[in-house]
Symmetry: C2
Subunit: 489 residues, 2 copies
């Protein structure tokens, strides 16, 4: 009965879990950063560029002023009684803070809330969803969470019983899904997106993988869908795969609908850089198709980390849970309650992003200007980087239509693949590590997201400041050309 | 291969999990609260009094001004450039906010941080721990978390492999432990505290339960210790049970030392209401005994939710992890990274509570006055409520020496126990439900924390405002006397 705490005696699910976004390359980058701080000039570059994660404010993107004004006033409500506050804060931020405080029992922003989040804020969020979609939303269906990730974990925890329970995920997928499935001991059932059609989805692929999983005795419990993920390499939406009746045909309808309507997921609902497509929530589409709340189990995730607000560090988010029975919902509530509640600052911010200033509000012009400036700049960055990647020999890259990432494919020579294999590394990890050591540029290797066998990618965020992009691209190009020359077949 | 999502097909670990603090009684209380809002006067009481959880600000306790000033400035750093700010904020809050912002890469309070938390804040916290204990602390050992609960879950997730892995917990225990052990599929190995000696701990009990668990094939992987929990019914500390050498004798030494030094756990390190005992961290005690970092695996949890600050809704906290190998630590880091990072507001607040204003700082006098006023009032409440409970027939109650709870024992007549059993309820749940329906007072039944078979308790927070305590006690007494009269043997 070995009880000593060593790697050999840890939970094997933890050992199996991999989380590429903060994995080997990211950890090594932290060490290089510390080395640069201790010994400037000791490396062939003078800054570490974290292009591996979508962390806008770390690249200098400024938060929306109105949101931060309201948060400050809610953190320190005494300010609302002071005359000077009127000259420091916009009038609508003051009004909004008062309204939010009135919706919090005892105006106590430091008290635990209901485990689903403050009811008054959930009402605001439900109103925001209803106004966006044109279909009703209910505060009782909203679970406020510390960012979107805990919601995904909760659903995995609820649904996965053992290694024969499968969750279907698009490949490439966001590493959160594979990590969470591994931690909960389930099986990831992949469905591959087609890079040649701009990461398109074929229904035949979905069917084939579903049948394949079933033939192996896997019960597929949920399907993760995220069209923006499909296009670009990030999340977020998961919904229950299992309809009450006639699941296959309804699933087909749904997926076809998705394809034709170019649905983009909520987390990135504002980050759309093409003019011929627009955001439609998954919920809006299924409701438009006549599914009401009872005949489709749908869980939608939203986060304050993305969009033009990019408030990753505030850990705000929610999931909207529809179509489940009361008894299942009670179990979900229980899981939420074990962590008491999500942080109130994140809860407030979630209500703000779903109800930003409106025309006529004192902050409206500033808010619009800040938002447009961020989104226009991101669109320019996305375009410039994709154009640059496609101009490099041995690299092809789908254009980004939204969100914050590119997923360029690197066409590696066989000799590079063999050299990587000899040191026991995936070729894209080998490449990414060399890129980091040579240039200070941090990317996430495609193998962390899954890719078709024999293809290799890098996930690059488009977030670096515009003025830095030319030098990043030129450093990257120089590295790439040397790498390819070294391993030419 | 049933895949439909119903209670029957959910993860059985979720179904087995119980979380009494937010369980049946708490949920029913929420319904009554809503009913009172919709139909005032429709119940035999006009307010629902949540005496079931330690949620100070929900009872009107005010946050510490200095903490909130710093949070507001960090949320909206533009304020630091404004002249009016000098008249609205104390000078040391301004200085501290600037110092904190300088420690955050890019001054970005909206960016994801390192998954263990912002390094500069962990440095501050480590300095606070070292200054408190007189022993070194290292920022690399600190994991900042959304309150203390996620840290406990992470340790359970890391250590529990299957149902034959046991975690020893004091009974009564905080429900978080039993809930987390159930969610991760482990076994709770109880050790009972002795109510008659003021919730004391006998080494013989610890040994007996350990041997008993081992004889059943349970590998005991960790021991949860929390002296304040022992006294009063709440958390928080867990440390690895397994020493490298001579575990039994060292364990004995440790426990004896605990008994004699009256160690109180960190989460409640400020809430001590007796003059002949003082707070010593567990780490300080084991270091004083000569255990260095390598020969004892110790995980200490701290939270901003308790103490005189009571900032439950901010979800700030940390765990200090010492004595584990690098490879085990890497696995823990991986679990932390899957949720990216804890919320930055909570991170900042954690650094503040460990480094509050010092003599000479502009805020010092106000800070001391606020702190003393809260702690003195809590001490009076604790004393008044214990005294009142002991004055009621059929109730006995240990005095509270710290924290925020009392755990009175109700000596129920046999007829009450049988009536409860007939409706399939634990007698204390039956009692608590009746208490709630009659008076609006919400308590957590003792069975949610564990209790010696045949004894029944209620957990009562001491937090209601002092002016309300007499009426709460008199409502409670009246209910209790009627209940006892109804079921007299």
């Amino acid at each position: 009965m070995a009880t000593s705490v060593s790697v050999e005696t840890l939970n094997p699910k933890v050992l199996r879990c991999e989380y590429a976004v903060r994995g080997e390359i990211a950890i090594h980058a932290q060490h290089l950063l510390q080395q640069l701080e201790r010994q400037p000039g000791s490396l062939p570059f003078d800054e570490v560029l974290f292009c591996n994660i979508g962390n806008p404010q770390s690249f200098g993107l400024k938060p929306i002023t109105f949101f931060r004004e309201v948060l400050a006033l809610c953190d320190h409500p005494n300010l609302l009684d002071q005359e000077e506050t009127k000259s420091l804060f916009s009038t609508d931020a003051i009004t909004r803070a008062k309204k939010i405080l009135a919706r919090i029992p005892g105006r106590a922003t430091g008290a635990y809330s209901h485990s689903q989040g403050i009811k008054g804020l959930r009402d605001e969020i439900a109103a925001g969803i209803a106004s966006r979609d044109g279909f009703p939303a209910n505060a009782d269906d909203i679970f406020l969470t510390n960012g979107a990730s805990p919601g995904v974990h909760m659903m995995m925890q609820l649904l996965i019983r053992n290694g024969r329970d499968g969750i279907m995920c698009p490949i490439p997928q966001y590493s959160l899904y594979s990590a969470s499935i591994a931690l909960h001991g389930g099986a990831l059932v992949p469905y591959y997106l087609d890079e040649s059609s701009g990461w398109g989805l074929e229904i035949s692929e979905l069917k084939r993988q579903l049948e394949d999983a079933r033939s192996k005795g896997i019960a597929v419990r949920a399907l993760v869908v995220s069209i923006l993920e499909i296009l670009l390499g990030r999340l977020v939406s998961m919904f229950s795969f299992v309809l009450k009746k006639d699941p296959v045909s309804k699933r087909e309808i749904r997926c076809n609908s998705l394809r034709s309507e170019k649905e983009l997921k909520k987390v990135y609902q504002e980050n759309i850089y093409v003019t011929n497509k627009k955001f439609n929530s998954f919920k809006k589409i299924v409701r438009s198709m006549g599914y009401n709340g009872d005949d489709l189990r749908l869980v939608s995730f939203q986060s304050v980390s993305k969009g033009y607000y990019g408030e990753c560090g505030k850990r705000g988010g929610y999931m909207e849970v529809t179509g489940f029975s009361t008894t299942v919902r009670e179990q979900l509530y229980k899981i939420a309650s074990v962590n008491l509640c999500s942080n109130i600052t994140g809860q407030i911010l979630s209500s703000l992003v779903m109800n930003p200033p409106k025309a006529g509000d004192a902050s409206y012009d500033l808010y619009e200007a800040e938002k447009d400036s961020i989104l226009e700049s991101l669109a320019r960055r996305a375009k410039a980087m994709a154009f640059a990647f496609n101009g490099i020999d041995g690299i092809t890259c789908n254009k980004t239509e939204g969100a914050m990432y590119l997923f360029p494919r690197i066409h590696l020579p066989q000799k590079a693949i063999e050299t990587a294999s000899a040191v026991n590394k995936a070729p894209d990890v080998f490449y990414a590590r060399r890129l980091l050591d040579t240039t200070g540029i941090v990317v996430t290797p495609g193998s962390g997201f899954g890719q078709v066998a024999g293809t290799w990618h890098l996930r690059f965020t488009i977030l670096p400041p515009e003025e830095k992009i030319p030098s990043i691209i030129s450093r990257f190009r120089e590295f790439h050309e040397e790498f390819m020359a070294q391993y030419r077949d």
